[in-house]
Symmetry: C2
Subunit: 205 residues, 2 copies
């Protein structure tokens, strides 16, 4: 997921050694969950990948479900740092920044370890009447859409909230298409539609 190797220091707890184990577990679980699916990966596989003891997993996360949530929170944080960082960087006009969205996604899709959106995949393989994962996903998307809406407002677009939701639809659609086809070109389809949405004449047709 184009993860930056931020040696995260959560302010919440513990010694540096404990954090290191926690970090290794999250990283290992993230790799395996994203590629193979959460339910298809057992805790034994996670601790083998992380090189830790099983007790360390349960000491840090309480249960596999706790680990899953921690992975999603961490992945979401890392992804937003990368994406929003690159999106908002510099002092280009807001409209120009909006046009960065799909080239950025294309870079993500081109990563050999791109396996779709961990949040979407997690929701898809769990009970859909359970609100927990869906709420985590909504919270993640809300942060992203808020930044996009701010850009849309700054660009003077009418109904910036609505534009952000429309772009969100395109983003999700591109993620799915890229996951299924393994073709990063799905981002270009989104780009052409976003040009249409943002008022530039479409270059495609």
């Amino acid at each position: 997921m184009l993860k930056r190797k931020t040696e995260l220091k959560t302010p919440t707890s513990g010694t540096s050694a404990e954090l290191s184990v926690r970090y290794r577990l999250i990283e290992a679980a993230s790799r395996l969950f994203c590629r193979y699916g959460i339910n298809a990966v057992g805790v034994d596989a996670v601790i083998a990948e992380a090189g830790t003891a099983k007790a360390s997993l349960y000491k840090n996360f309480g249960s596999k479900e706790g680990l899953v949530e921690a992975v999603l929170v961490h992945e979401g944080q890392a992804w937003r740092e990368w994406f929003l960082g690159a999106l908002l960087e510099g002092d280009a006009p807001a409209r120009e920044k909006l046009h960065r969205i799909f080239p950025l996604l294309r870079a993500w899709f081109s990563d050999e370890r791109f396996y779709g959106c961990p949040f979407i995949n997690a929701v898809g393989e769990h009970d859909k009447d359970d609100a927990r994962l869906r709420e985590l996903t909504i919270a993640h998307k809300k942060v992203i859409l808020a930044s996009i809406a701010a850009l849309a407002a700054e660009a003077g677009l009418p109904a910036p909230e609505n534009v952000a939701h429309q772009l969100g639809l395109l983003i999700d659609g591109a993620i799915i298409a890229a996951m299924v086809t393994r073709d990063p070109g799905a981002a270009d389809l989104g780009a052409s539609m976003s040009r249409l949405l943002l008022g530039e004449p479409a270059a495609v047709h």
Copy 2:
């Protein structure tokens, strides 16, 4: 999934009693897989839901994986029959038919048993480097996009193939948004973008 109760008669095999068991298993597995996720549902749960013997499952499908594929094939067929049937019905202008897409999706999203797209969810919870499920998904989408592209061509739109792919992106995005938020209104966002794409002035902004 708004499934019509077509008492399917596959031309391939067997007595009517055998088909009935096969049908019950597919229906039961479909319900459980869609709601809870494939890997979260065991074969014991499937046979309990279907009211069949475990031997009947393995006689008809060989393995759980065989059942999964049969479920996807059947779900895809039923969904396309419903969706394309309603999309192409009557002799309205092609452009008008294209505008049916998202109201149709809204009806699907409003079903209490809407749990997202079974294909997308299946891909998400299995090994992404395994091509089997991804190819099934691509085949399913290809049929749909071909019908949409034909409509786009009939409507005289330039680059109908491209329009179909763009609409496909919107469809997938709407499905994901509806699954995560459980709000059928995700379809309306798609509708507003499709108006933009099809050349009508957007009513939204």
